[in-house]
Symmetry: C2
Subunit: 195 residues, 2 copies
């Protein structure tokens, strides 16, 4: 069955976002990444700035932050509200049109559909560091710190809300090491598997 | 860089072995699977029967079996000797000729080479069960039990000897869900990535 929707999960610095954007362009379908933030903000009633910082990442204070987050009388934390809004927006988006969605646990949110291709992009340390240094104008040491921080928080967010393990092959249809395979070939393989 | 060597790790019932054999045929290169056992037997001095049962799987008694295995004066268990022999045989094989190697932690054993394509094949539960029932002439319940047992022992063996997590995407160049992608397409993608 052809896959109308492609979700791209990715390690920070692996080029997953870039690969996803190129695939969307080449297939002529919609691309959702940061532009999803305004929908989540509107649905949740929280500010786009807050969503940008919190919708895909665990709180900075650490992996147990979810467990100790302040909760209202219904048992929900603000992070839960953001997640619920994100889930609702993603479920609505995919009804509207074929698209590529970057991150945001979309693979799990859409797990009951059979028209979704779930991709995980990862890479080798030297290539990821080099990319982060270039894109964020950062020194090597800073890039290593950013990468560790962002991936840890993505993982914590994913594991908490999905009860699955971020980066475990069996969660995804396709996992690709972009440093070894090359961005071009990754794009071709994703497009081939979406047919 | 072209990949002379392709290692295939796989979930039981995912068709990884079949896919690996087809790739070897189509590329016209050697294929190592059970035929590696005689080499390991010769190198270790243990019987082929013993190797067949122990060279890729943890002991049946459970995941902690390695820790409590009987060890000789050098601190080595029989399982360690088998693993050492397997490692030696694999390192020698890849010097000889381009090949496909199924399982046996070959991805980890060959991690210092840059001419190796590491693949992990997994699949959906219903398709894996169906395949096991057909190949082993088993009932569904029996197939589920076989699958759980073999994958648990493969995982324990891999995790113990590599200090990595079996089935974690970042250990492999390429991870493919054979039920979703289809065997033919898996073969094509592996061959494309070996170029």
């Amino acid at each position: 069955m052809a896959k109308r929707i492609i979700t791209i999960s990715r390690e920070f610095g692996s080029g997953g976002r870039f690969i996803g954007e190129e695939v969307a362009k080449k297939l002529g379908i919609a691309y959702y990444d940061k532009n999803i933030i305004y929908g989540i903000a509107e649905t949740s009633g929280l500010s786009p700035e807050y969503i940008r910082e919190n919708a895909e990442l665990s709180p900075k204070k650490g992996l147990f932050a979810y467990a100790f987050a302040g909760r209202d009388i219904t048992g929900k934390s603000v992070a839960d509200m953001v997640y619920e809004a994100q889930r609702k927006v993603i479920l609505e988006l995919v009804e509207k049109e074929p698209c590529v969605i970057i991150g945001r646990n979309a693979d799990y949110i859409l797990k009951d559909r059979d028209d979704v291709l779930n991709v995980f992009i990862h890479g080798n340390m030297p290539e990821k560091i080099q990319r982060i240094c270039r894109l964020y104008n950062a020194e090597k040491q800073e890039a290593v710190k950013m990468m560790a921080d962002i991936d840890k928080r993505r993982m914590a967010n994913y594991n908490f809300y999905t009860n699955q393990s971020w980066g475990k092959a069996s969660n995804y249809t396709l996992c690709l090491n972009s440093s070894q395979i090359g961005y071009d070939r990754c794009e071709k393989i994703i497009m081939e598997c979406s047919k």
